[in-house]
């Protein structure tokens, strides 16, 4: 059974207003740019977006932000898009800032069926406010909840038609974690191959996590984002 879909809007058919959506990438590197563009063309609103950044100003998730489709952003570094701060100051978006390691681990925990975990990161800071604190073997930890979502939009380098994925250099980042932590996982890739063409030793995301595959129509180049 092939999971490959050619039309982006068909791939995004499961996305509804009010959904929580995981979006891969570290800035634009490893971000599912074609799927994000598809989302900007879709009539949905009140989205909660979980992503390290909310794109850059007017690029990637930055477009969705400027369309006022994002109700809440959960991420680690919003400074890279000035528009996020401007909207926050005006009360137009809710933000939840998490340390980057906590964001990553909460996704890992969510995908692994855990409710949460204790971490030393953030203890004694403003980001620990309202979180349970617990001493374990003489060290203070705070409790962080796992993150699970309705949909994950991710980017990989290659997929076979079953949905096995391999990644490319630092475009891997949050993508393999997000692939595990959503009810529906949609991936865009540079290249789609037949099962058997990927070396089992190199597969990072096994196919059981992946629901839908599309061919990437936008790629990040030295000159910026271009249509393929």
């Amino acid at each position: 059974m092939s999971k490959v879909i050619s039309d982006i809007q068909d791939a995004l058919a499961c996305v509804e207003s009010g959904h929580t959506i995981l979006v891969g990438g570290f800035g634009l590197v490893g971000a599912p740019l074609s799927l994000i563009e598809g989302l900007t063309e879709k009539d949905v609103t009140n989205l909660t977006i979980v992503s390290n950044n909310l794109g850059e100003s007017g690029k990637g998730l930055g477009i969705l932000l400027n369309q006022n489709k994002i109700k809440k952003g959960i991420g680690s570094y919003f400074t890279s898009n000035r528009d996020v701060g401007d909207k926050y100051q005006k009360g137009e978006i809710e933000l939840e800032l998490l340390p980057q390691g906590t964001l990553a681990e909460s996704l890992r925990a969510g995908g692994a069926g855990l409710g949460g975990y204790y971490t030393t990161t953030g203890v004694g800071t403003d980001l620990a406010k309202g979180k349970e604190e617990r001493e374990i073997d003489g060290v203070n930890y705070i409790f962080e909840k796992a993150i699970r979502a309705d949909v994950a939009l991710i980017r990989a380098h290659k997929a076979d038609t079953l949905g096995n994925l391999v990644y490319y250099k630092t475009a891997r980042n949050f993508n393999p974690l997000m692939a595990t932590a959503a009810k529906k996982v949609i991936v865009e890739v540079d290249e789609i191959v037949e099962p058997g063409a990927l070396n089992p030793e190199e597969i990072v995301t096994p196919f059981l996590y992946v629901d839908t595959i599309i061919q990437a129509q936008q790629v990040l180049t030295k000159e910026g984002v271009v249509n393929k």
Binding site: V29, S80, L97, G101, V123, T125, L127, V204
Partner: protein, 212 residues
């Protein structure tokens, strides 16, 4: 009174902190001045880790730039012999789990016990913690690089931070264009004056108490 261009000052600090590193070690470089430290590291057994998923960062020639190969500051980098890629959770397991020897971070403020603030300015659009809190709890040593004073000339080494702190942990060393400090028993100790700088100038530009 000594003055530098911003770039000269940043390179001066980066060069000095690079001299402090001894291999073999794994070093994580933050955004800003820390990124420049890579230009001054020549020991073969100093390996650089970047939070976005690469151990074995090197610099890269213009012709070899790959847009999908970047550091924490999203600037293009190269991959060293023996490098590896991994996901963000593994990257922060390395950091939190105490497997990174030195983290070099920027800071907005440092207090006189060595506690830093570097992720938020209340009322401003600076809302980016990134990996800073993880590095502070996990790196074996933390070095801070920053200009000694803000644009308005006020000291960034304060009695108490006025911005939200990044961790209750004190950093180990602080490098500015004026001086190098070690944090010993929650107290700042001036251990070196930068070339041409007098102790009087450091005292005049430092609000925090320090010993020397």
């Amino acid at each position: 009174m000594t003055t530098w261009s911003k770039t000269d000052m940043q390179h001066l600090i980066a060069k000095r902190v690079a001299a402090e590193l001894e291999g073999p070690c794994v070093v994580n470089l933050g955004i800003g001045i820390p990124t420049l430290v890579a230009e001054y590291m020549d020991a073969e057994d100093i390996y650089m880790h970047t939070e976005n998923g690469l151990l074995g960062v090197t610099d890269v020639e213009e012709a070899d730039i790959d847009p999908n190969l970047v550091n924490a500051g999203k600037l293009p980098v190269g991959e060293a012999i023996g490098s590896s890629f991994f996901n963000s959770s593994d990257s922060f397991a390395m950091i939190r789990g105490g497997h990174v020897d030195v983290a070099i971070l920027g800071a907005l403020q440092v207090d006189q016990t060595g506690v830093i603030a570097n992720w938020a300015v209340p009322g401003k659009n600076i809302m980016g913690v990134g990996g800073a809190m993880d590095l502070l709890v996990g790196a074996k040593k933390v070095f801070v690089t920053m200009s000694h004073t803000s644009k308005d000339g006020s000291s960034k080494l304060l009695k108490e931070c006025t911005y939200p702190i990044t961790s209750t942990r004190s950093v180990d060393m602080i490098f500015t264009e004026l001086a190098v400090f070690e944090v010993v028993n929650k107290q700042l100790k001036l251990v070196e004056l930068m070339p041409g700088i007098t102790i009087e100038e450091v005292q005049a530009k430092t609000e925090a108490d320090f010993i020397h």
